[in-house]
Symmetry: C2
Subunit: 66 residues, 2 copies
C-alpha cells in the first residue's frame, strides 16, 4: 500500500527522526514505511495521520488488493 508520508513530512519540514519520535517508533520504522518495505500497524497508522494532520483515508492509497 502506498502512502504520502514522505511528501507530507517534507512539506512540514521534519526529519524521519523527528516524526519517529512524535509517533513513538524508531527512525528505521519510518524509513521502511516511506520506502514501502512494509505497512505500518493500525496504531501507527493513526499516530502518523494525527501527527501529520491528515485523515488516514487521505494518507494512504488503497488499491483494492483484497
Amino acid at each position: 500500500m502506498k502512502n504520502r508520508i514522505h511528501e507530507l513530512r517534507k512539506a512540514r519540514q521534519i526529519s524521519q527522526e523527528e516524526l519517529a519520535k512524535l509517533c513513538g517508533v524508531s527512525r528505521q520504522t519510518i524509513n521502511a514505511i516511506e520506502n514501502n518495505k512494509y505497512d505500518p500497524s493500525l496504531e501507527l497508522v493513526f499516530s502518523l495521520a494525527t501527527k501529520l494532520g491528515i485523515l488516514v483515508d487521505e494518507l494512504f492509497i488503497y488499491n483494492k488488493g483484497r
Copy 2:
C-alpha cells in the same frame, strides 16, 4: 483500538463469515477483530472500511495511544 465493525456488520445484516469472504480473510479473523483480540493489518483495515462503506477514520476509534 476499538472499532465499529460489529455494529456496522449487523446494520448491513451480514454474518462474520460473509464479511470474512468479502475481505478475503478467515471468519476467526473477523471475530477476533470484532472482539478486540488484536488490530487488523492496514490492508484489511481498508478492505473492511470499503466493504462496509465507511471511512477508515470513522470505522476505528483512536485514543492517542502513541
